[in-house]
C-alpha cells in the first residue's frame, strides 16, 4: 500500500529577544523566522511576521545594517478572558548585517499573509564579473 510521505511541521517556538538595541515600546519582542538567499543580482529575505499589517512594518537599511520591526496590535477583545494561551503577541524585531552594497532605490518589499518578502538588489559593481583570460 503506497502512502504519501508526509512531513509534519516541526515548529520551533517563538524566540524572545533578550536585549533590544532601541526600546521602541513596552512589551515582548520576538525574533521572526527568516529565510535568506541570494543569487547574482539580488538578496531576498523572507520573514514570518503573523499579525503585522503593512503600515506597522518598518524596514530600515543604513550602513549595511538591515532592521526589520513589525508591531502587532493586541488582537483580543476587551471582554475576553483566556482559556488557552500558547503564544503572545508583541513586536517582531531582527537585524542583519549585509555584506554587499544594496541599490537602495530598487528595494522591493511585499507583505502577504503575514510573510514579508524583501528583495534587495545588489549594486552593479558588487555583481560578479566574468573575466575571460586571453591567450595569445
Amino acid at each position: 500500500m503506497a502512502r504519501e510521505a508526509r512531513t509534519d511541521i516541526q515548529k520551533a517556538e517563538k524566540v524572545g529577544v533578550p536585549t533590544v538595541p532601541e526600546q521602541m515600546r513596552p512589551g515582548a519582542v520576538y525574533s521572526p523566522s527568516v529565510d535568506i538567499f541570494e543569487n547574482d543580482n539580488t538578496i531576498t529575505v523572507l520573514a514570518d511576521m503573523p499579525g503585522v499589517k503593512a503600515q506597522d512594518l518598518k524596514i530600515d537599511l543604513r550602513d549595511s545594517m538591515l532592521t526589520l520591526t513589525g508591531r502587532v496590535s493586541a488582537p483580543d477583545g476587551a471582554k475576553e478572558s483566556d482559556v488557552l494561551r500558547e503564544y503572545q503577541s508583541g513586536t517582531f524585531f531582527r537585524q542583519f548585517t549585509l555584506s554587499e552594497a544594496i541599490d537602495q532605490a530598487k528595494i522591493d518589499a511585499s507583505l502577504t499573509d503575514g510573510v514579508l518578502r524583501l528583495e534587495l538588489p545588489k549594486v552593479e559593481k558588487a555583481r560578479p564579473r566574468q573575466i575571460t583570460v586571453r591567450t595569445d
Binding site: R6, T7, D8, I9, Q10, K11, A12, E13, K14, V15, G16, V17, P18, A28, Y30, S33, V34, D35, I36, F37, E38, N39, T44, L46, D48, M49, P50, G51, V52, K53, P75, D76, G77, K79, E80, S81, D82, V83, L84, R85, E86, Y87, Q88, L111, T112, D113, G114, V115
Partner: protein, 152 residues
C-alpha cells in the same frame, strides 16, 4: 533550554488540573528569565500555536499560520472539538540561489482542541488576515448560564 514538550497537544479544560498548564508556563518563564535565556513565552511546541479566549457568548480561537492560503486550511467543529489541519508549503525559488538562512518550516499539521463547552457548529465563523486565523465559535444556547429570577 528546558524541556518543554510536556503539555499534551490536546488539552482538556474541564480537568481539575486545568490551571496547571498556566502555572507551569509561568514557572518556566520565570526560570528562563533567571537563567538569562529569553523572556519569550513558553508555547506548546506544536504548530500552529493557538490562543483561545472566551466571552459570554463566544469562544475565540486564534492561530498564527503565516504564509498559508485560506483555502489550504481545513477546519472542522464537532460538539466541543475543533480541528485545524493544513499544509504549509514554501515555494521553491526558480533561479539558482544560495541560502544563508533557512528557518521557516514547512509541512503538514493537524491539531484538535477540546473546548470547555459545546459550540453551535452551524454558526462558526472563520476569518484569515495577515497570517492569523480567527475562529469565532458561538457557545451552544443550552450551555449558557441562565438568569433565574426568584419570585416573591
Amino acid at each position: 533550554m528546558l524541556v518543554r514538550r510536556v503539555w499534551p497537544s490536546r488539552p482538556t479544560f474541564d480537568s481539575p488540573f486545568g490551571d496547571f498548564g498556566e502555572v507551569r508556563r509561568e514557572m518556566l518563564r520565570l526560570l528562563d528569565t533567571v537563567a538569562g535565556d529569553t523572556f519569550g513565552d513558553v508555547g506548546a511546541g506544536v504548530f500552529p500555536p493557538l490562543n483561545i479566549t472566551q466571552d459570554d457568548d463566544n469562544f475565540y480561537l486564534r492561530a498564527e499560520v503565516p504564509g498559508i492560503k485560506p483555502n489550504e486550511l481545513s477546519i472542522s467543529a464537532v460538539r466541543n472539538r475543533v480541528s485545524l489541519a493544513g499544509k504549509r508549503e514554501i515555494q521553491r525559488e526558480h533561479e539558482r540561489v544560495s541560502y544563508h538562512r533557512k528557518e521557516r518550516a514547512e509541512g503538514s499539521f493537524n491539531r484538535t482542541v477540546t473546548l470547555p463547552t459545546e459550540v453551535d457548529t452551524e454558526r462558526v465563523d472563520a476569518r484569515y488576515a495577515d497570517g492569523i486565523l480567527t475562529l469565532t465559535l458561538p457557545k451552544a444556547e443550552e450551555t449558557k448560564p441562565r438568569q433565574i429570577t426568584v419570585r416573591t
